[in-house]
Amino acid sequence: MSDTTQTGPVLAADGTPLKRSLARALRMQKIRALMLIAPLLLFVLLTFILPIADMLFRSVENQIVSETLPRTVVALKDWDASSGETPDEAVYAALAEDMKIAAQAKLHTRVGSRLNYEKPGISSLFRKAGRKVKKWDIENDGPFKEKFLDLHKGWGDPDVWRTIQTYSPKFTNGYFLNAADMQKGADGAEMRPENERIYWTLFKRTLFMSLVITTSCIVLGYPVAWILANLPSKSANLLMILVLLPFWTSLLVRTSAWKVMLQQQGVINDTLVWLGLVADDARLVMINNQFGTIVAMTHILLPFMILPMYSVMQTINPTYLRAAKSLGATNWTSFWRVYFPQSVPGIGAGSILVFILSIGYYITPELVGGTKGVFISNRIAFHISTSLNWGLAAALGAILLAVVLLLYYAYDKIVGIDNVKLG
């Protein structure tokens, strides 16, 4: 009886206060859970998050200029770019010394091509100078200003020096400016001339086509999801296979199928010609343009729209619809005012998913998009593997990533990542 009247803290069996004992047990549970997650988290961080962070770093990194031309960068610091005059002899002497070291290590062409992204023509300037400077005697061969001007009159162009000066810091926003169709002019950032604004056009096109694809997925997916959710489960399961089979089929199989069907000598054109709807010499051009990309990608992404819609529609009680009708609503009113609002979460989930997936698509636009139907991803790939301008590729990637992460955040808020379902 005395126990119940005790006023002190409740004790656990081992004599510690119950509160602390429970807290310790909870902590143990948390640690155990984290220990189970830790290996995978570490794995993902190392193989996936770190590479992406590295890419983001690359989009602002610019150490090559100050590392290869250290003396020139220091000497150029005091030069006034807006004066319109070439720098003085000290700068040329520093450049000669840097260039000689760089040319011996064969690094001068790399600086040249780095600066060439910003001002076309610099690359050849560096390449030619490197060959000659290697033979110069830095101690006695001065003054170097005339010697450089003799090599190429480009070395007397203040714009060249301004470019070197602008890109001498260790970090730069130059790649991002490039990605936004801007350049560093004489007085700060400015837009490029109208006819050189390719990235803005590409971003606009990517967004526009992703929107068209998402909309056509909604239009095609909604009836299918509805019929799947409202048929008796036996026939719904059978029809579900028709949705899941394309979902499980290799992306390249589906892309090649569309290539086969949409070609000018392909199945669709042949059928239309056979039916007489299209003349043999006026076959439709359905591939290597925006139309081809939109059709193929709508087909590829349609299951991602149908599955979330279906799982939401399954939970809508059909009696609501009957109740609305028995209260006098027409077919359309009962659908629009009762059924549709309940299915909106499914549309939202599917749309964000399809939009996220389509905005970063690479393979299908590459194969069926031609030149007019390519996305920003294709440009990124081009810069990585063909033009080798990795910084610009990283900057374009960073912008795309920011858009996707924003949508991912919205998806998490609206649907919750935990609720993603597969099949």
Binding site: Q29, K30, R32, A33, M35, L36, I37, L41, F43, V44, T47, F48, I49, P51, A53, D54, M55, R58, L220, P223, I241, L242, L244, L245, W248, T249, S250, L251, L252, V253, R254, S256, A257, W258, K259, V260, M261, Q265, G266, L275, G276, H299, P303, Q314, G360, Y361, I363, S377, I380, A381, I384, G397, L400, V404, Y408, I417, D418, V420, L422, G423
Partner: protein, 391 residues
């Protein structure tokens, strides 16, 4: 819905409905033969006559349907040989069924009795729309399969194929796939990369999924967001990042690099499927096991593992197909030595377009049908194990 009265329709109604279908079909046949208008009129007239006869022949469905079927085949053959006869057969079978379906009034059988004619029409129109979308979904796959048996190097149906002549078909593209060194190397690479990547993602992923489904996990949302991110981040960005980073640490162009990259891409699928399975897992089972003296390891392998195994396997299959189908990342992270099957297909589609791709595509479709069937079976089994009746 047995309350719905099924009353036979009048000949006029049946004839009218059938005529509308006939006109539609006639439009296509007519344009193919040169005159769309003639086709519409003829199709409407023929079907109207058939539709008018059908209600009078009630009860004698079978012979009439066979007669219509063979009649159309004969007409098709007279017009344009074997291909037209096949088309005629399809039309005949459909129209034979249609006239009796309408004439007997059976079309109202499964509908609520109070529907107006307009609503009945919409009901069937809606099914037709859905049917068209389903055909859109499945056609590309259905077109690829027969084309892969083409005996010519064309990507379309040759006249021989349409006339069902034996010389129009051959297995030469399959032979090419099994004898060509490029394709065989690619197949070998795919088969050696995908399983290792799968084992990695399933091993780490299952452990983490079990951790994530504990009742108290700090930063659960943030961790989940990180673990799912490989599925969300555009592949080209993952590929770019991995390419830059892996070339810094010397993994670019190595087998290990590709395996690690594919394992990272497969992890979200394992996490999603296994956590979904664990939602229905009864925790008192592990407590009961512990109560009877089993240590955590025994509990895991003897109690928990068998119950969540279906989820783990289907997660593994998802991870496998992700790696097996992946092309963007391997294009950048791999080198010529890691050329996988999708990579080879990608090159084939972009540069030297060869019909062998269609043979490979058919084989891959068959593989994915097998995987889909396995996953579906496992899902049902898992639901049965957890006491959720299959829906």
């Amino acid at each position: 819905m047995a309350l719905t009265p099924v009353t036979p329709q009048t000949p006029a109604f049946t004839a009218g409905t059938a005529a509308a279908f006939g006109a539609f079909a006639g439009l296509f046949v007519g344009t193919a033969q040169g005159s769309g208008l003639m086709g519409i009129v003829l199709g409407a007239v023929i079907l109207a006559i058939l539709g008018a006869i059908a209600p009078m022949m009630a009860g004698k469905d079978k012979p009439v349907r066979w007669a219509v079927f063979f009649g159309f085949i004969a007409a098709g053959y007279a017009f344009g040989g074997i291909p037209a006869a096949v088309v005629g057969g399809i039309f005949g079978a459909f129209f034979g069924w249609l006239i009796f379906f309408v004439a007997s009034g059976r079309y109202r059988e499964s509908l609520a009795p109070y529907l107006t004619p307009g609503q009945v029409l919409w009901h069937y129109a809606f099914r037709v729309i859905c049917g068209v979308i389903f055909i859109f979904l499945i056609t590309p796959i259905l077109v690829v399969m027969p084309l892969s048996f083409n005996s010519q190097d064309f990507f379309t149906f040759t006249p021989e194929m349409l006339q069902f002549k034996a010389e129009g078909y051959s297995l030469k593209h399959y032979r090419d796939f099994f004898t060509n060194d490029d394709w065989q190397n690619a197949l070998r690479n795919s088969v050696t990369i995908a399983p290792v990547a799968t084992v990695l993602s399933v091993g780490f992923g299952t452990l983490a999924a079990i951790g994530l489904s504990q009742p108290h996990v700090p930063f659960r949302r943030a961790i989940m967001a990180i673990l799912i991110s490989p599925m969300i981040v555009p592949l080209i960005i993952s590929a770019a990042g991995m390419y830059f980073f892996y070339s810094r640490i010397g993994l670019q162009g190595t087998y290990l690099g590709v395996v690690l990259a594919h394992a990272a891409l497969g992890i979200p699928f394992v996490i999603i499927t296994v956590t979904a399975t664990l939602v229905g897992f009864d925790r008192s089972l592990t407590r009961a096991a512990a109560n009877m003296g089993a240590n955590p390891v025994t509990t895991f392998f003897k109690v928990q593992m068998p119950l969540i195994l279906p989820g783990v396997i289907s997660g593994g299959l998802f991870a496998f197909i992700t790696s097996f189908d992946e092309v963007v990342v391997v294009l950048f992270v791999g080198s010529a030595g890691q050329k996988t099957l999708p990579w080879q297909m990608f090159i084939g589609l972009r540069e030297q377009i060869s019909p062998t791709i269609l043979a490979v595509a058919t084989i891959l479709v068959v593989v994915s049908i097998g995987l889909l069937a396995t996953v579906e079976m496992l899902r049902r089994r898992s639901e049965r194990l957890r006491g959720i009746s299959p829906t």
